[in-house]
């Protein structure tokens, strides 16, 4: 019999599990991670096209990049046609390329999949080769498959992949994203690929623990999207999905909000006013993947001049160190860690040990809740809309099962308790309930 697994390809974390008909086995897919059954959805591709994922990718990225040397060379990138009233001319375009760049680290592959419409994000150039979004996902899934096969000791033929309720609110984009994910999985070596909605998968996992029929709201709040499913579970007549819904709000949006509202002043926002070039650099800080590409000699010279002129020297020196010492990924992780810590404590520290970045921000839960209150309003609306579409009243819901890392944020837990009652809000493993449900679905 061919082996089939459940694979949760998440925005921030992924996982693989198998179901033998009685119990689910979560594979320790990333032994270097604190939680070995969870692998970070990051991909690192080196100049010689060696690819790695998870903690290994992060370690390699740090080893290769932090405080490394750079050497920029001017490269011809293409031509631009200029057309005026009676004038037409072609101009060459050059870009500065760091020829010592050892590799590229990529995160949010799933978000890229969502945006991979024509005219949208189609892929990226990595050294000499262009990778489409689908190819990047293929590389990631291929490595994940290989690791799983090593752990299981036999080849994996088929997979049940999780997918959000909505990759996109536009049906065409949604269809294309699923199609690209399917193509990537097939190209990664899976012979048979099917999909299950992520909240439905989480429901299958929860169903293992209930004794009688229940009306359940699955609230899957992860790194990239919020997915909601209102379902009838444990019914001898079969499961029923009353309604499903979702919105592309999740953990990465909260990280971005923290950076935009609290961190940018540390890098000069509010002190630099009439320097569009520098302001553009400051505004790029929330996008850590773009920061390494800004480490050009021109930008360094621009920052040096401003520092020399006494324009917010400490803040701009910090900005320079963030960009040129490749501290962006570390910085972003610190912000994310502080956000996670605020789920269990009232205050957390966001700081960096770099000599030139005097970043120290005491960040409290009430500040965080203030920063994300707009998101909370939107999430509540989507939740109530989905519930209304199911035809159920909050009172007739027996349980609200929350899963995904962002579901632990106290602001959202309070919202669920307020809407449904504290006793109905059930915890599930935020990182493994979806993959466990996918494995059950694969084993059916």
């Amino acid at each position: 019999m061919s082996l089939k697994v459940g694979l949760d390809f998440g925005t921030s974390n992924s996982g693989v599990a198998v179901y033998d008909g009685r119990q689910v086995r979560l594979l320790p897919i990333d032994r270097k991670n604190v939680l070995p059954e969870v692998v970070r959805t990051v991909l690192y591709i080196t100049r010689d096209y060696h690819c790695s994922i998870g903690q290994e990718a992060i370690e390699l990225y740090y080893r290769h990049n932090v405080n490394r040397q750079r050497h920029y060379v001017k490269q011809w990138a293409g031509e631009i046609d200029y057309s005026g009233a009676d004038l037409h001319y072609v101009r060459d375009v050059y870009v500065y390329v760091d020829e010592l760049k050892p590799g590229r680290l990529m995160q949010y592959l799933k978000t890229a999949l969502r945006k991979s419409a024509p005219g949208g994000y189609e892929g990226t150039q990595i050294f000499e080769r262009f990778y489409s979004t689908s190819e990047l996902v293929q590389v990631y899934l291929g490595l994940l498959k290989r690791r799983a096969e090593q752990l299981l000791g036999e080849p994996i033929r088929a997979v049940t992949l999780g997918r959000p309720v909505q990759f996109s609110s536009l049906p065409e984009q949604d269809r294309r994203a699923e199609q690209n994910l399917r193509q990537a999985a097939l190209a990664a070596g899976f012979e048979k690929v099917d999909f299950e909605l992520e909240p439905v998968a989480a429901a299958l996992d929860y169903e293992q623990s209930i004794l009688g029929p229940q009306n359940v709201v699955i609230y899957d709040f992860g790194g990239g999207t919020l997915d909601i499913a209102v379902m009838r579970l444990g019914d001898p007549n079969g499961r029923k999905v009353y309604a499903s819904g979702g919105v592309d709000i999740a953990g990465s949006d909260f990280d971005r909000a923290i950076i935009e509202k609290r961190m940018l002043p540390h890098f000069g926002l509010g002190q630099v006013h009439h320097q569009p070039g520098i302001l553009e650099l400051i505004q790029s800080v929330p996008d850590w993947m773009a920061l390494p590409d800004l480490a050009t000699p021109q930008n360094r010279s621009m920052l040096d001049k401003a520092i020399h002129a006494g324009l917010a020297p400490v803040r701009l020196k910090a900005l320079q160190a963030l960009i040129y010492n490749d501290m962006a990924f570390t910085f972003y992780n610190r912000v994310e860690s502080a956000k996670i810590a605020l789920s269990s404590q009232g205050a957390a520290l966001i700081s960096l040990e770099d000599r030139d970045i005097p970043l120290w921000e005491l960040y409290t839960r009430s500040q965080f809740e203030l920063d994300i209150q707009d998101f909370q309003a939107r999430v509540e609306k989507v939740l109530l809309d989905t519930l209304a579409a199911s035809g159920l009243e909050p009172g007739s819901v027996d349980a609200v099962v929350k899963t995904g890392g962002s579901s632990n944020i106290p602001l959202f837990t309070s919202m669920l308790k307020r809407l449904f009652g504290a006793e109905k809000v059930k915890e599930s493993n935020p990182f493994s309930s979806v993959v466990a449900g996918l494995a059950i679905r694969a084993g059916m």
Partner: protein, 398 residues
């Protein structure tokens, strides 16, 4: 950054969730502690700037940089233009200083114009005791403008300009009484090696090699400290061991070690450790006789004590992967049994010259291509030492 607005927000958190208050207090106290320490450091720096001690440090640093600049100027000329012709080892100086030195620190300096030198040439003779400290004398050929680092067996170092050593004409006879003593070894010390210093600003590491095959590298960025403290370190693990060679290397250089009993070991400088480490397994009676870097266009020349030349292509030098290896054997076992031993080895090009000190005290110069062609030193008895004179027999010269 703790603006009043932020402080209000912290207070709000503490009021709303009293359990957060203790954590906030701890974090602020820890920050205050860090800032106090930092403040003290800054105050100390401020005091140092005000009382001039910091200025003194900066002056020392400037002096070191100026010194390095001076070395570069001497090497590349006052206009400082760095061209392929002026790169180290590729340019022949107009005057050549040939140094004969021994373990007690005595140095004889002979000077000759490059145009006067031919191959083979007898340059003169040293009379009297040739083994004053039980060690063979050693040779070094450098430009008169060179600066030398004297490395002693205790790990002590000092510097000396070649021009400070009185020069003697070639063609005569000399005794050690005529030699100069730029820095007398301290009690129990021996002069281990002389190291030309002008390439220091272009090098990444000092590499020291001991007689028993221990190697240590030191970053040249520490040169200021090394020179001001007069200490580079012994670079040897055993008490009975002592340094025998010091070389300036770049990161990507390949190092060769050649031993008395004919073992050859290649090592990548980048892979060497900063701590002293034994890198070659030697027989109890064997020891390192030469250590040098090998450029891709150079070949290896080893000289036996009876004047036979062993020449190998530079490609034979494979970098050793194992920490403890015995190296490649260059002397066949039968010859080894007959008592053939190496007295030295070097990396060279065909246009280089070889300066040889024979056991009778005769100093001779030979073109490298002649030696490689004949396979031995002409009309030579036992040999004590040799060194390479770079690029003195270019095609354009007679």
């Amino acid at each position: 950054m703790a603006s009043s607005q932020k402080i209000d927000e912290w207070i709000k958190e503490a009021e709303g969730r009293p359990e957060s208050a203790l954590l906030i207090l701890r974090l602020i106290a820890s920050r205050l502690n860090d800032l106090t320490e930092r403040n003290e450091e800054l105050l100390s720096e401020n005091i140092a700037l005000q009382d001039g001690s910091q200025v003194e440090q900066y002056r020392k640093r400037i002096a070191t940089l100026e010194y390095q600049l001076e070395l570069l100027k001497r090497r590349f000329g006052p206009d400082g233009v760095l061209t392929a012709e002026t790169l180290p080892g590729t340019a022949g100086p107009q005057l050549l200083s040939m140094l004969v030195y021994h373990a007690r620190g005595m140095i004889i300096r002979l000077q000759a114009g490059l145009q006067e030198l031919s191959s083979p040439a007898a340059l003169g003779q040293i009379k009297g005791e040739l083994f004053p400290a039980g060690e063979s004398p050693r040779l070094l050929a450098v430009a008169p403008e060179e600066e030398l680092l004297l490395l002693f067996s205790s790990g002590r170092v000092s510097t000396c300009r070649v021009e400070q050593i009185p020069a003697m004409e070639t063609g005569g006879t000399w005794t050690w009484e005529q030699a100069s003593l730029p820095d007398e070894p301290h009690g129990g010390e021996l002069l281990a090696a002389l190291l030309p210093l002008t390439t220091l600003p272009l090098s990444d590491f000092f590499v020291q090699v001991s007689r028993r095959g221990c190697i240590k590298k030191t970053m040249t960025s520490l040169a200021e400290t090394v020179l001001s403290n007069h200490h580079l370190g012994r670079g040897a693990l055993q008490k009975a061991d002592q340094p025998c060679e010091a070389i300036l290397c770049r990161k990507k250089d390949r190092l060769a070690l050649v031993t008395y009993e004919g073992r050859l070991l290649g090592l990548d400088v980048d892979d060497l450790t900063y701590s002293t480490e034994e890198r070659i397994r030697l027989e109890p009676h064997d020891h390192v006789v030469a250590a040098f870097t090998v450029a891709p266009d150079q070949s290896l020349l080893c000289l036996t004590d009876n004047g036979k030349v062993i020449h190998r292509d530079g490609a034979v030098l494979e970098p050793a992967k194992s920490v403890h290896t015995r190296g490649q054997a260059l002397i066949p076992p039968a010859r080894l049994e007959q008592g053939t031993r190496f007295i030295g080895a070097a990396a060279l090009r065909e246009t280089d010259g070889v300066l040889v000190l024979e056991a009778g005290g005769r100093l001779t110069l030979h073109a490298c291509r002649d030696l490689i062609g004949s396979g031995r030193l002409p009309e030579s008895g036992p040999v004590l030492a040799f060194c390479v004179v770079p690029a003195i027999f270019e095609e354009s010269r007679p």
